[in-house]
Structures are given as C-alpha cells and as structure tokens.
Symmetry: C2
Subunit: 426 residues, 2 copies
C-alpha cells in the first residue's frame, strides 16, 4: 500500500527488523511522524515522550524495537501514570508494571501513555475515532484502540473490566484481544475491579495480537498463530440482540454465513443448559461487581478527593453504598459457579460468535454500552474482536469470538480473519 513503516503490522515490522531491512529507529520515526500529523485530531495520548522513544536502545526479543502504546492506568518507571484523573496528574510511581517490564524486556519501546477514561471507568476521554472525529473511539482503552487503528503504533496495551478492549477495537476497526483472566500479570495496574480487570492488546491482525500477548505474558506459544478452523461455531445473539443496530446484526449474520460457506457448522439453537436464562443475571452480576469493587479500590480517592472525581464515577460509587456485602458476594458466587459450568457447555475447539458492540461507534464522546462484553469478561474467557466491514456511517463494524483456550481461539480467529471484510482505512 505504501512504504511507510508505520503501516506495517507488528509481525511484519518485527520480521523486517530481524532481517535487517528495517531500522527500529526508522520505524519509531515513522510512528512519531504519524502521531505528530494526527494528534490534534485523534488525541490518543495522555503523555508522549518522543525524545525518550528515540533514545531507546531496544534489545532483541519477541518485539525487537516495536513501538507499543501503554494505557495510562498502567505504571511506567519513566512516565507519569495519571489514570486521566486530576487527582493523580503527573503521578510517578517509580517502577514499571509487570506487563511493561515484560514488553521492554522483549525489545518493545514505549513512546507514551495512551488516553484512558478516568480510572478506566465511565467518564469519556478526549480521544476521537480516527475514522471520524465526530464519533467516539469507544472506551475505556480509547487511546490504545485509536492509536493502533490510526497507524500511530502497531501495538498497544489496554484493559477490560466490562468491554474496554473489545468494544473500542470494534469501533476503531482493529483487532482487540482480551486473553483469559490472569494470562497477563496485573502487577502495577491501577486496579478498579480485582476480579474483573484483564489486560489485553490492540493490533491490526490476529497474529500481531498473539505476538503482543506472548510478549506481555511469557506464553511464547501465542507468538506463532497458525490458522485452524473451529470444530463448530455457536451463534450467540443473546443477551442483547434488541440493543444491536441493524448494521451490527447484519454484520454478524453475514460473518456466520461466511463461516458456514467455509464448511464449518454454525449452530444457532438456544444456548445449552439453562445458560440462556442465566445470561441476564450474569450481565447484572458483572454490572454490580465492577462498581462495588471500584468503590472499595478507590476509597482513598473518594475520601480525600471526591470533588475531583467525575459526577458519573461518584454517582456509581454512591449507588453502591446501599448495596450489602452479601449481594456482592452472591454476584461473585454466581460468577464462580458459571466459570466452572461453562466448561461443560463450550467445547475446547468451539467458538461462540457474537457482537462486540451494538454497531458503529456512536456520534459524540460517550463510549458506548459494554453490555455485549459483560458476560464474557465476568466468566474470564478469552475473547477477540475482529473488524468486519463498515456500517451506514462509514465506520467499522466487528464480530466477537469467545472461546475457552487462548491459543485455540487465536487459531480460529486467524482462520476467520481472511474471510471477513477488512475495516476501512482511516
């Protein structure tokens, strides 16, 4: 398409660097140039340090010299971690989070911190959708999704507590991969919800996403994704089909059709067991656990700086004051029970296909409804969002694949990827 190194995906850039045909410094310059050209519109970065990025002398490893954006709720030794909150503006904690130390150990270079909603919560960022700045990029990992979609970096780290990786990935037309809970260590993450917060990555292909998670987690097998057809695909319109847009629904049904055309059985029968009945309760459990745990985790901020929390966050915490611990505990027990039961309902080589979001990114700054992601995050299952064409506003659409095993899900996603319609190019 172009010889601009910023357009290269992570695996391609890494291979070119290893082969000696691409200088990591040239890649970084290309990314910094793209950021400089687009930052006034996209506003994907809460903090940027081009001088430091240029000065880095990356070692060899899975990411040999690749620029990687880091969501600004993840600690960095050499940059502030402000969590998009005035309370922590300029806060430096003096060490790298586990995942940042891992990515740097693998040769990755961090040019800056990507924009997040306040504490990865409910209040929008300044970031705009690179496909149309009148629209949201989604959130809470707004900057990571937008920066990767806009060719500002080939990889970025995000976090998902409800739908904060999958949804912005879909809105921005990139791959968003949330591995199983705990695959990437959360040390040094400013945590909101200890039983839900999951680190994930944004990339422009399935293989690139696998490479990123391999480097961050130490699960080296994920670095080499080999496409493989799933044994079976289950189509999951639930729990929120009625909230999906016509274009979103059409994209999902079209993807299902292409899977069937490729000879893989697509099962659209109701969910097995009593899971269909449980989905609404599971989504409700996630929607309780997140603010209940957030209210505890941010108790210091709430006590000392309530006036500097957004009204949305304050209201969410205030609402939890009246919730008895026993209700929270019941939600956690429902989570735990279904985490176990799902293994009997979903085969290891099966994919559940559903929507990552209602449809195209809405106009404005509100980051969209995470209802399409709540259940899968709650159940700690690996999930990936793949771009699939665009909607009537010209903005990307996507599909979400949920599985039981990270490596298997990546293989299935890599199989589906070329069968889908690529996202528009910003």
């Amino acid at each position: 398409m172009t010889s601009d190194p910023a357009r290269l995906g992570a695996v391609a850039a890494r291979d070119a660097i290893r082969a000696g045909t691409l200088d990591p410094a040239a890649l970084m310059e290309a990314c910094l140039a793209r950021i400089a050209a687009r930052d006034a519109v996209v506003r994907a970065w809460d903090f940027l340090d081009p001088a430091q990025a240029r000065a880095a002398r990356p070692g060899r490893g899975l990411l040999s010299g690749l620029p990687v954006g880091v969501k600004d709720v993840i600690e960095t030794a050499d940059m502030p971690t402000a969590c998009a909150s005035a309370i922590h503006a300029g806060r430096r904690t003096g060490r790298d989070a586990a995942c940042v130390a891992a990515l740097r150990g693998a040769g990755g270079v961090v040019p800056g911190k990507t924009a997040t909603t306040e504490f990865a919560g409910y209040h929008p960022t300044v970031t705009r959708n690179p496909h149309n700045p009148a629209h949201t990029p989604g959130g809470s990992s707004s900057g990571s999704a937008a920066a990767v979609a806009d060719y500002q970096v080939p990889l970025a780290i995000g976090t998902q507590t409800a739908g904060s990786v999958l949804r912005p990935a879909a809105f921005c037309g990139v791959v968003g991969f949330k591995p199983s809970f705990g695959v990437i260590d959360t040390g040094g993450l400013f945590h909101f919800s200890a039983s839900l917060d999951t680190l994930g990555v944004f990339a422009r292909s399935v293989a690139d996403a696998g490479l990123g998670v391999a480097a961050l987690s130490g699960w080296s097998a994920l670095a080499e994704v080999r496409p493989a057809a799933p044994a079976r695909v289950r189509l999951i319109p639930a729990p929120s089909w009625h909230l999906a847009s016509d274009a979103g629904r059409a994209a999902l049904m079209e993807a299902a059709g292409r899977i069937a055309d490729a000879g893989v059985a697509v099962d659209d029968s109701p969910l097995p067991g009593d899971m269909a009945d449980a989905l609404a309760a599971l989504a409700d459990a996630q929607a309780l656990i997140q603010p209940y745990e957030g209210r505890r985790a941010l108790a210091w901020e709430r006590t000392h700086h309530a006036d500097r929390l957004s009204p949305a966050l304050r209201a969410a915490f205030d609402a939890m004051d009246a919730v008895p611990f026993e209700d929270y505990r019941a939600a956690r027990q429902l989570q735990s029970a279904w985490q176990h039961r799902i293994a009997a309902l979903m085969a290891p080589d099966e994919v559940w296909l559903t929507l990552p979001a209602a449809g195209e990114a809405p106009e404005g700054t509100a980051t969209g409804d995470p209802v399409f992601n709540r259940v899968w995050t709650l159940l700690h299952l690996p999930a990936i969002s793949l771009p699939h064409g665009h909607g009537p506003a010209g903005l990307p659409l996507g599909v979400q694949m949920v599985g039981r095993h990270d490596a298997t899900l990546l293989a299935h996603a890599a199989w589906l990827e070329p069968r889908l319609t690529p996202a528009p190019v910003p």
Copy 2:
C-alpha cells in the same frame, strides 16, 4: 490482669472508647509506650510515626480510635512502603491502599508499617518472636503477628500467599484470620502473586479478628461474631503430618478431643473423593504458582535491580525461567478445578481442623515451612489459626480451622476458642 489499655482486645477497646471510659489518645499512648519499651527486642516495625499517630483525630466507626498495624507491602499515603527491599527504601506512592482507606474510614489509626519479609517472600525479617527473641515470629507478616502478640497494637493487617498469616499467628500465639480470597480488596497491595495474595488480620481473639475484617472489607456482619458449634469437624492430618513436631501433633489431637467432648462429631476418616490423593499435587501447584507469578510481577525489580534482590528470591525466580507457561497454566487449572470440587466435599457448616504450622516457632530467623497452609490458600478458602497452649520450649502452639463461609467459620472458631488453652503471655 492490668489496667494497661494496651492489653485490651480490639472489641473491648472499641467498646470502652464508645462508652467514653477510654480516651483513644490514652490507648494510642499505651500502645506507643509498649512499642518503645519492646521495640529493641521485638523489632516489629519497619516504619513508625508516633507524632502522626498522636495527631490523628479518628472518626467514629467500627474501629473508633483503634491503633492498627499495616504490613509494609501495603500502600499508605503518609508513610513509605518499602516492602523490606533496598530497591524501594523510602518509596512513597501518595495514596492509601483500599484496605488502609477502609480502616481509616472506620476510625482506625495507623502508627506505622509492620515488618515484612522482602516483598512478602522468602528472605527473613529482623523481627523476633515476642515470646523468645531467639526464635522466629514466622513470616512473611512477621511484624504484624509479633506486634499484636506483644500488645503493641490490638489489630494488624497481613497478607498470605502461602502461609504468611496463619503460620506467624500460630508461632506468636495470636489469632490469624485469612478470609476468602477477595473479601478484602487488594488495591494498593504490592502484589507478588495475583491469584494467591490474600489480605488478612491478626488479633487476640476471634471476635477481634472478625471486627478487623469487617472494617477492612465492608462485610459488616463479620463485626458481630456469635459463637456456634459446627455440625461436624473433619480432622485433617494431611498433607504434611510427618513434618509436624510431636508437640504440634499432640496439640491438634487434644483440640480434636475437646471438640468431641463438647458433643461435636470429629471425623478422622480419609478425605472424601480423591482429595487425599490430590493434596500433594495441590501443594505443588501452589508452590509453582507463587514464584512463577512473583517472577512476572517483580520483572522491573529483576531487570533493573537484580543485585539488590536477596539470593533466595533471585534463585526462586531464576528457577522459574525454565518453567513453560503451560506448566503454570496447568497449575492454575488444577487450582480452579478443586476450588469448585471442594464445595461438594465440605459442607457449609463443617470445619476442617488441621495444623497451621509444624509446631513451635523454630530457633533462628528462617520463618518456617508454609506447607501446612499452601492448599487452603490455593483453594481461596477462609482459614483461621487459634492459639492452643505451648510446646516444650514454652512457645505457643495453634490449630487451624478451614471452612467454606467466612461468617460461619468465625462463629465456629468463636465456639472453639474458649475450649482451647490460651497462649502464653509475652
């Protein structure tokens, strides 16, 4: 025994403060005086700020004015959090951990940070057993256990990843309560092992421990412990009976005898299902997960300051370099499978009675073997250590009770507590 307010338990002191018969300032002075008198021998504190403790104007709440020690791996806005590592000497993070904000919100006052082993890991602290300074207090929550046993504070917070609450509690002759995983939010804890690290408390009675966890977690029902006999007690010599001392074994069998004398059935038949066979594998899984996750969580320290890690910690991490991610994942899956299966093997009103440690605190500084705690921590079950007399060296012994429900376990522990022999007084 004495009118020294430092000798009062948490509930008694709180009640006296509420009744107006005890001035919180007098309680703090008494605790500070005890610390001053004993610190050269016991060395329970990594950081102490008497001026700030005196200046505190605690609000009313579950802990109205009670001094509470905080293990030095837990962030405090107004004191350093050094994790007993030269790497982080004097490190200030500018905010309170979730549990510290909660305890202060409940009226608790933090006089200082209690001594921990390096990163709550393997390298001993300077703390000595208050019953005999030639012996270890256990670890890693060494200072919290010793300070409570020595009447320096009525309550202290600790963390358990293998046996770091239960074992030092037993060695020091106090109650150590590790609630279920996640009951106390881990926000602001310098984490070592995300899937094991559990916050707990040290106190001098079961009711005091319940009060502490209620304040830290928001689970208010735990603040009022009403003794209740368990339906059944299962005696668990496994997995490490052969490692127990004669005195430890005798203490456990005597406790079981007293339970039977009180009319509660004590079942000493082998563990149900195939759990007896699984215990060794579960202990091994814990022993793999802890250093594997610690190696990832402390990647920044390992990369930049390897020379300032203890040889023991460095060796534990180095050994993990050769472990494939898949082995770690298998250990986590075993953990998850048995977390679910245990519910079918242990009734909600049943107690599993076992040893919290091999016996009396060993001579020297090595903190003892956590093998008696590994499985219960791995399974995320609530566990409590109760003092029960002493051994041939005059040092405390204890018993461990494991249950499925925190409030129920506390009720059963409060029932057993008066039937056991009190610990010696330092």
